[in-house]
Symmetry: C2
Subunit: 350 residues, 2 copies
C-alpha cells in the first residue's frame, strides 16, 4: 500500500452521473423506468482507487435484474444504480496493485465514476488491440459461448450446430468457435442484414430470419442432417423451430431466453411441455442450464488463451455496436431487447 | 449345432394364442383395441428353438408402441403381435447354446409360444431365487433405475431424490438405490396404500400421493432442503409439484411420461414452456432423456453384479403384481396406465 494519491490529468466532468432504476417495468422497459442522478465525483480513501467509465456493456441479463424476482441474482433496488460491466480507467489510486492509467474490467454500473477497493477488477493487458473486446469476445459473452458450446455442447466435427441471436456477442462466438471445431453452423437472426452478416462476415454456413413466418421450414431446409447442438439463448420462435429437428443425443446448452425477457404472461393456448419433454425423452436430449459466473474460476484462463489466439489469427471476428453517451443507455437497452442492435452493444461513456 | 430335437414333456395347449393390435387407441386403450388369434404351435427348424411363455412383462412403453408414431421405436402394426419381454422356457432346441428346460428372458411378445433363433435371448441362472425378478429389479426396469439414477443423476450422500410411481418397478428401484447411496428419498405415488408401502416396505423417507390436490404443498413439506435429483418417469402433476423445488444444479433423468401416455390433446390454458425453461436456466438444471436399451452394452453387467448383491442382502426389495392368464393382459395394461397395479405388473401365462 502507498500513501501517495496520484490524480491523472484527465478531463473530468464536474459531477458523477448515475442511472438508477426509477420503477420496475412490466413488459418492455422504457425511459420512464430510469432516472438520472448526479453526485459529486467521489474521492478514493485508503486502499481505494477511482475509476472513470470508458465503456458500459449492455446485456440481456439486465432486463431480469429490473424485476423484483430476478431469478438467480439480486434484483436492482428501486433507486439503486443499474448494474453493468465496464471498461474503466484508473484515474487515482491508493491501491498498490493499480496505477493511474491502468485499464480494468469492472462492475462499475451505469455511471461516470466509481470507487473501488480493487475487488473483482480485472486488469487489461495494455497490448490488447481492442480494449472493448474484453466486454465481448474476450469477456462474459465469449466465456458464455466457450463454456456452453465446448463444455456442455461437446461438438464433434461434422455435427450441426444451431444458434440464435447469431450476430450477438454470444451467438457470433458460438458459431465461430463451432466452425473452428469442424461443425456445420446455422444461425438464426432477426432480419436479412443480420443473416447476411452472419454468413459473410462470421462464416456461418447459413442463417435464417426469425422474422420470417416460414422459419420452421427454412431452418429444416438449412439442417438436412438435423441438429446436434442447439445453443439456446433466446427461446421463442427459434426454439420452437429447432426442437423438431433435434437428432438423437442432441445437446441443448441453455443460457438465455431473451425472446421472453419482456413477457408479462405465459403464451395462451396449449401447454407444450408434454410435447417438449416427450421429444427430449425420445431423442435422448441433454439440456443443461448454466450461468456463466459459475465458470470463471475453472475456465476463464483457458478461454482467454484460446480466444486470444483465435482473435489474433482472425478466426473469430467481433462485431460491435457502440453508441455514445451514458444518457442513451436506457434506450439502447430497450432497443437491444427488441433486436435493434447489430453485434455487441456498448455505450461509450467517456 | 445338433440335429436332435428334444421336446420337453410339458403340458401344452393345443394352439398358440397371440394377442394382436386390432385398432390404434385414441386415449386410453381398451379391450376393443386387441384381438386374440390362434395358430398352430410352431416347430423349430434348424438352429431354432421353441419357447413357452411363463411370464409376460407389462410396461408403460407398450402404450407408445400402439400409436402410429411410436417415437423412438417401431410401432406395432395393425394386426401385429403386441411386443413384450417374457420369461420363457426352452421346450425344444436345435440350437447348440440352449437346452430344453433352460429359462430365458426373451422378446416373445404377447403369446403362448415363440420360435427363436437365439438372438436377443438372455439365459437365466438356474440358481436365481425368483426368475420373475429378471423382468423387474434385475431386468429392464432395474437397469433404467440404475443408469438414470447413478449415471445421469449422480447422487451424493445427503442429497434429496424425488421419484414418482414410487412403488412401480422403476421408481421402487430408484428409491432403494438412492437410499443405499445415502440420499434422502421422497416418493410420489397414487394413493395411501402405495405411499405406505413405499415408506414401510421400501424404506423411503416419505411418500406423498398425487391424488391429493395439495400435492405441491405436501411435496414441499417433505423436501425442506429442496430437490437435487428429480427422476422423471411420469410427468404431469408430479413434475409440476417437483419443479419449483429444484435446487441449483439439480439433475433430472427423464425416462418416461406415463401420466401423459393416454393424452389426446396438449393441456389447454397456457404454455408453461417459458417458465420451465427459465427455471432450468436459473437453477442450472441438467436434464437428460434416455432410453434404457442404449445402455445394455455398457452397463448391464455392472448393474447385474450390483443388483444381485443388493437383492441378496435384502437392501432392495421387489414388489410384484402378478395376474393370471394371457387373455387378461389387455385389461391389465389399461389398468396399469391408470395406476391400478401395485408393483411390477406381470402376467403368468403358463
Amino acid at each position: 500500500m502507498t500513501d501517495a494519491v496520484d490524480v491523472a490529468p484527465v478531463e473530468v466532468g464536474p459531477v458523477n452521473r448515475r442511472l438508477v432504476l426509477a420503477e420496475r417495468p412490466v413488459g418492455a422497459p422504457g425511459l420512464q423506468h430510469f432516472r438520472i442522478e448526479t453526485a459529486a465525483i467521489p474521492s478514493p480513501g485508503p486502499g481505494e482507487l477511482l475509476l472513470r467509465t470508458e465503456y458500459l456493456s449492455l446485456d440481456p441479463y439486465m432486463r431480469g435484474r429490473m424485476n423484483a424476482n430476478a431469478g438467480y441474482a439480486e434484483p436492482v433496488a428501486i433507486g439503486g444504480l443499474m448494474v453493468g460491466q465496464t471498461i474503466s480507467q484508473v484515474t487515482a489510486s491508493n491501491h498498490p496493485d493499480y496505477a493511474v492509467g491502468d485499464r480494468v474490467v469492472a462492475d462499475a454500473g451505469w455511471q461516470d465514476w466509481c470507487l473501488s477497493n480493487g475487488q473483482g477488477l480485472r486488469k487489461l493487458d495494455p497490448a490488447l488491440s481492442h480494449p472493448t473486446w474484453a466486454l465481448s469476445a474476450l469477456g462474459m459473452p465469449g466465456l458464455t459461448a466457450y463454456v456452453g458450446l465446448l463444455d456442455i455442447g461437446q461438438p464433434k466435427p461434422g455435427e450441426t450446430v444451431v444458434v440464435a441471436a447469431a450476430t450477438g456477442p454470444v451467438g457470433s462466438a458460438v458459431g465461430q468457435i463451432a466452425k473452428l471445431k469442424g461443425c456445420k453452423v446455422i444461425g438464426i437472426a432477426g432480419g436479412e442484414e443480420k443473416c447476411r452478416m452472419a454468413v459473410e462476415q462470421l462464416g456461418f454456413d447459413a442463417c435464417v430470419s426469425h422474422h420470417d413466418d416460414e422459419l420452421p421450414r427454412l431452418l429444416a431446409e438449412a439442417c438436412p442432417d438435423g441438429i446436434d447442438i442447439y445453443f439456446e439463448n433466446t427461446g421463442g420462435a427459434a426454439f420452437e423451430a429447432a426442437l423438431p429437428l433435434f437428432n438423437n443425443y442432441a445437446r441443448m446448452p441453455l443460457c438465455g431466453q431473451v425472446a421472453w425477457a419482456n413477457a408479462t404472461n405465459l403464451p395462451a393456448g396449449y401447454d407444450l411441455t408434454p410435447r417438449v419433454m416427450r421429444l427430449f425423452l425420445h431423442r435422448r436430449v441433454r439440456l443443461q442450464g448454466f450461468i456463466v459466473t459459475d465458470h470463471y474460476d475453472t475456465r476463464f484462463d483457458a478461454f482467454q488463451t484460446d480466444m486470444t489466439q483465435w482473435l489474433a489469427a482472425g478466426q473469430v471476428k467481433v462485431i460491435e455496436d457502440i453508441i455514445d453517451g451514458l444518457e442513451h443507455a436506457p434506450g439502447a437497452l430497450s432497443g437491444m431487447l427488441s433486436g435493434y442492435n447489430l453485434g455487441k452493444l456498448l455505450v461509450r461513456v467517456s
